[in-house]
């Protein structure tokens, strides 16, 4: 195993954040690859490199955070140069980015995307650092076991209802995730729901289920799309045009749009289950409304190469990446696919249990001992600001270099990702059965996508199931076996009512 010692005097965490950030921009600029996919492939390799010691956590998380932040910046590159979003949340960037590039202003469009993205990202990180500890302290102070159980139920209900177009399918997806996580778990000596199979007695490996549904499922679907598409994948890059730095006047014009979108993206990022794509869409549509009233004469409309359109989209989707750690760190609830892999890293390496307890001051032994988990959280905050600093300094330069990534044919790239994922699973589990389990979950993820069922509620439910059941058992025991323990406390009651309301409300909204 590698030691977490400085390399040439540079702390290993800095190197890892740097490496992750560059990889993130590269995968973001590659259509068909996205940040979570790169995080999924990197995680087992990183664990192989750093092992399971406490020293491993920060370098591994630093790398993953770097990927998460880099990917949102990189997604704008092919959106502007090739009219193809590198990541789904960069779709709105194509609407104004590509027309700007066609007018010979590609470099200017990339600069706007970079500035907006870095601004949104920084704002979101500041909100995270300020809000996460307060939220965690509130949770610790006011929520006991029944309330925590109810909060987990509310989160799952929210995620199942808002992700995807159908509430029913979201609820089924969540149910399947809970069911898969319950195999071979429980308190009895007999491993439940294993159908007597000794191979299932250890339960379903978390990496096999998560990577199968999220990564293999997407690879199977994309390969089939390529198989059905007969036309060749031709991409023409528009001329980059001459360099055009942003003037003070440009910045003054763009800043209100960036500010509004950063706020929208941060609020959306803080809610579990709503991803950066919706943030980008909301940021863009809000900006479009404002632009209609404040548009200067002779300026292009939205959709015809308005810089404000790029700024609004990129600020919104990038500001999700900091705020999505608010529910992770203060509640232990992953809100999106990127957060799933951060929790998976924490869970795999151990020594850090995300949730309100990480912000306790004392170390549990005596008041003089600092809580090591809180030290780790501030290490994570530092890694995030480091990634921010890299984004401001070298992000723009590197962004302009990775345009070539969009030319890699997906039909060759996806099988490579698949083998890399299966190998990563094998070196962790050392069993061909784990590979077959991953393929099974990959096929499940593929079928879910084909029937319009989002796989994200499955994954988040799979991760939270153990915690939910354990908290419910403890709450039941602590309340003297009261079957109505979720309804006796006013806060728990409110959470349960909200959970029912959020499902019922979303059930009434028209299907997308």
């Amino acid at each position: 195993m590698f030691l977490s010692e400085p390399v040439l005097g540079v702390p290993i965490v800095v190197i890892m954040v740097f490496g992750g950030f560059l990889l993130g921009i590269t995968v973001g600029a590659t259509p068909g690859l996205a940040g979570p996919m790169a995080m999924a492939i990197s995680l087992p390799i990183l664990i192989s490199v750093f092992g399971f010691s406490n020293d491993a956590l920060l370098p591994v998380l630093g790398f993953l955070i770097g990927i998460m932040k880099g990917a949102t910046v990189g997604g704008a590159v092919p959106a502007i140069l090739f009219n193809t979003p590198g990541t789904p949340d960069a779709y709105m960037t194509t609407l104004d980015g590509y027309p700007m590039a066609q007018k010979g202003e590609a470099k200017r469009a990339l600069r706007i995307a970079h500035f907006s993205s870095a601004s949104g990202d920084t704002f979101s990180d500041i909100v995270l650092v300020v809000c996460a500890p307060f939220l965690a302290i509130l949770v610790e102070r006011y929520l006991d076991l029944p309330e925590k159980t109810a909060l987990l139920i509310l989160s799952l209900a929210f995620i199942a209802s808002v992700i995807g177009g159908s509430v029913g399918k979201g609820v089924i997806s969540m149910g399947l995730g809970l069911l898969a996580a319950m195999i071979a778990t429980g308190e009895d000596f007999y491993p439940r729901l294993t159908m007597g199979q000794s191979s299932l007695a250890e339960g379903i490996p978390i990496a096999a289920a998560v990577l199968g549904v999220l990564i293999l499922g997407e690879v199977f679907k994309s390969l089939e799309d390529l198989h059905r598409t007969t036309q060749s994948n031709t991409m023409s890059q528009v001329a980059s045009g001459k360099s055009s730095a942003l003037s003070r006047n440009d910045l003054r014009r763009l800043l209100p749009y960036i500010g509004r979108s950063a706020l929208i993206g941060t609020c959306i990022g803080a809610l579990p289950g709503i991803g950066s794509t919706l943030a980008a869409t909301l940021g863009y549509t809000t900006a479009k409304r404002h632009y209609a009233n404040a548009k200067p004469d002779n300026a292009p409309d939205f959709g015809e190469g308005a810089p404000e359109g790029i700024a609004a989209t990129e600020a919104a989707n990038s500001s999700v990446s900091g705020a999505n750690l608010i529910p992770v760190l203060s509640l232990g609830i992953p809100g999106n696919a990127a957060a799933v892999f951060l929790i998976l890293a924490m869970d795999s390496i151990g020594g850090f249990n995300p949730g309100p307890s990480v912000f306790r001051l004392g170390g549990g032994i005596g008041d003089s001992v600092m809580n090591p988990e809180m030290v780790m959280v501030f290490g994570i905050f530092t890694a995030m600001f480091l990634a921010n600093a890299l984004n401001w300094t070298i992000g723009g330069i590197f962004m302009r270099l990775v345009g070539v990534m969009a030319r890699i044919p997906k039909n060759r790239l996806l099988p490579i990702i698949l083998l890399l994922t299966l190998t990563a699973i094998y070196v962790q589990e050392t069993s061909m059965l784990a590979i077959w389990i991953t393929i099974f979950f990959g096929l499940l993820g593929y079928v879910m996508r084909r029937v319009g069922m989002s796989p994200l509620p499955f994954v988040i439910a799979f991760i939270l199931a153990g915690n939910l059941e354990a908290t419910a058992r403890q709450a039941f025991a602590a309340t003297g076996a009261d079957p109505f323990f979720l309804l006796k406390s006013p806060i728990a009651f409110i959470f349960i009512v909200l959970a029912i309301f959020v499902v019922a409300y979303n059930l009434r909204r028209p299907l997308s």
Binding site: Y190, R192, Y426, F476
Partner: protein, 180 residues
Amino acid sequence: MKSGSSSDRWLALFFLAFSILIVFVWIPLDTETGLVEKVRRKFVIGDALAPTITGVIITLGAIMTWLQPSQGHTFTRKNVIWILQLLAIFAISLIIMRYTGPIVAMGFEGGGYRPLRATPPWNYIGFLVGGTMMIGGLIATASRRLSIRGFAIGFATSLIIALLYDMPFDDLLLPPNGDV
């Protein structure tokens, strides 16, 4: 399945049947404790409660899908054929990956493959051949064209992945060496 909302109705019926199977057959037959148990004169939650609630959640999801079917998502026979194609590629490549090393070792070494499974080049043989087949097969299926280039990419990728894991880490085993 047919297009649009009727496809979702079939999906709802499938999951309704699945949830009934879970609650009334699978859980009673495959858990040792009930919904609630009495242990040392105290009631505790049994292992069957959480899966039963999960079954009810899936039932509710199926009912919601039935009542509010969405448009545009269909699961067709073409999708089933695609799954079978994928399974065929995985079955062939993983079987080749599993058995190539032991078969080659049988011809050259008397002691069999197991003592050699962590020794280059023996530990690479199965992974390289199986990985090449997997990537080459998938590229050929996705692009509807069998090409030597696809298998060459498969070989090069398998070799790079094998070296990536094997060179720096002595304690990691490449597929299928942990199973032989």
